[in-house]
Symmetry: C2
Subunit: 308 residues, 2 copies
């Protein structure tokens, strides 16, 4: 019988290729496939496969990374709610993606699913494996379209429906809370779903929910790409996109726990920074003109809203 | 008699105009001057003047900000070495600048000088004012020139010479240590000087050293601008500059304590992010070709070195 970790690993590996194949097919370009392994002698051991398409016709930078690391001791930050596992050996597996399209009318998207597994010994001296899950997906438009946001959120809701009616409202609110640029009092985008530390119903339920979320990603996102990728745009829309991409950088480098912790704790920099946009501008105090679509992004889309 | 805070404020205000005038004269462009005041009701009160030149002929983005804030209680991070001042009311004044040139042969530069002042009451019930200083300047070339690095470091050393022969070696090493991108095991640039928590010799000595450092900035940097600003360059050099600017963003958002703490604690975002470059790229695993000037930057310049 395959172990839980091997089962999830096999699923994530297939998932990665399924997603990047679909993106490559729309784009016409090709993903670079870079398999890596952590050099021996470091505390964290592990390997991964980074796939990235740069300079494509539809995607200016699309990164999708699988990683699988093992460590001798769970860090305290991972065991706040599980004191009995403090210091236990662990494995962490996940798939993370951020796609930055070229056309400013196509939204940027992020998806991540991950599992942690820790080994401990129970009162009878038996080895016990505890697993828990995290993940989600969220959408960051440069120009807001109500039907895009509704479609994306509807897909998220459907993916969670089999796991309890409370899940979507809870994970939707968690997403709004998480993807907030507190230094600007501004949401990163129109949200989606976010969850962490999930172990309800044990491994079977957690893994099933992971698959449901991840398997719904392409149908949540690709229709928006198809709808928007050939819309005509000019320098104004491009400039606004490049400016707004700065917010993505600010969020990921200042607030995103995974990114920040990964960079500060010896993670693989180039894989962590897959999420960075290919080209970004900063400019002082850019306020959109009243009545423009750029203003509507701030006033109608970058506020938590019930989209479904 | 002017208070210490008023004296430093007057100096920094004049300094700001002196520096931006010199930069505007070289550039031919004009600084936007934006005076701001913190809205009442927040914990930190204060005001400042942000000056920024964007899209200039020589400087693509040159920001120079003065700020002066008052708070009811010193944060614990500021009083590690001064437990007797924990929770004391304080004022903080500083000038910070980052200039991003257009020509890739002209290095980016950063300078900051600041003073903290805290009020406490001594054993006899007398009001006591404690002041301490921090600051420094450092240089970030895209293409390395030995004589530029030597000139810059020589200026730094001369500025500190009157304050003790130990200061330059100490503050030079501190700068190398501080401006390190630990997630890449890479220096931000060729360094300069950095100091913090300086109170040797009291206010008179600290303020004199602040002036000596800040007054030497223009002569440390402008000759490099004059020397390099009209050098011919092509797309290759421009691309490398934009790519390397990503490192500046990574350092400031991930590692720089002032930036990170400022953004997380309710500082004025647009003034803090004056340091961001105007246009930046990220690309996966860009390794310079052996034997190129781009490789020489990494191997000969982005390593701590004795330049003087």
């Amino acid at each position: 019988m395959m172990s839980k970790v091997d089962t999830v690993r096999a699923y994530l590996t297939v998932l990665q290729n399924r997603i990047t194949s679909a993106i490559a097919a729309i784009d016409g370009g090709e993903f670079l496939v870079d398999a890596w392994e952590k050099p021996p002698g470091q505390v964290l051991q592990g390997n991964g496969v980074t796939q990235i398409l740069e300079g494509g016709a539809v995607f200016e930078r699309a990164g999708c990374g699988f990683s699988h690391v093992r460590g001798p001791r769970l860090p305290p930050s991972a065991t706040q709610h599980r004191p009995e596992l403090s210091g236990a050996p662990f494995e962490a597996l996940g798939l993370s993606l951020v796609f930055h399209p070229r056309n400013p009318y196509v939204p940027t998207v992020h998806m991540n699913v991950r599992m942690l597994s820790a080994a401990s010994v129970d009162a009878d001296g038996e080895r016990v494996e505890t697993t828990w899950f995290g993940g989600g997906m969220d959408l960051t438009p440069y120009y807001g379209f109500e039907d895009d946001a509704v479609h994306f959120h509807t897909s998220c809701k459907a993916a969670l429906a089999p796991y309890g009616a409370d899940k979507h409202p809870k994970f939707k609110a968690w997403c709004d809370d998480y993807f907030c640029l507190k230094h600007r009092q501004e949401q990163r985008g129109v949200g989606g779903i976010f969850y962490d530390d999930f172990s309800d119903g044990g491994f079977e339920n957690g893994f099933a929910m992971m698959q449901s979320v991840a398997d719904s990603f392409l149908q949540a996102y690709l229709p928006l790409v198809e709808r928007r990728k050939d819309m005509a745009y000019g320098q104004r829309e491009r400039d606004f996109q490049l400016y707004r991409r700065g917010r993505y950088v600010e969020f990921n480098l200042v607030w995103d726990r995974g990114t920040h912790f990964g960079l500060q704790s010896g993670g693989r920099t180039e894989s962590i920074l897959l999420s960075m946009p290919p080209l970004v501008t900063w400019a002082y105090q850019q306020e959109p003109e009243p009545g423009t679509p750029e203003e509507a992004l701030y006033t109608k889309f970058l506020k938590p809203r019930d989209w479904v």
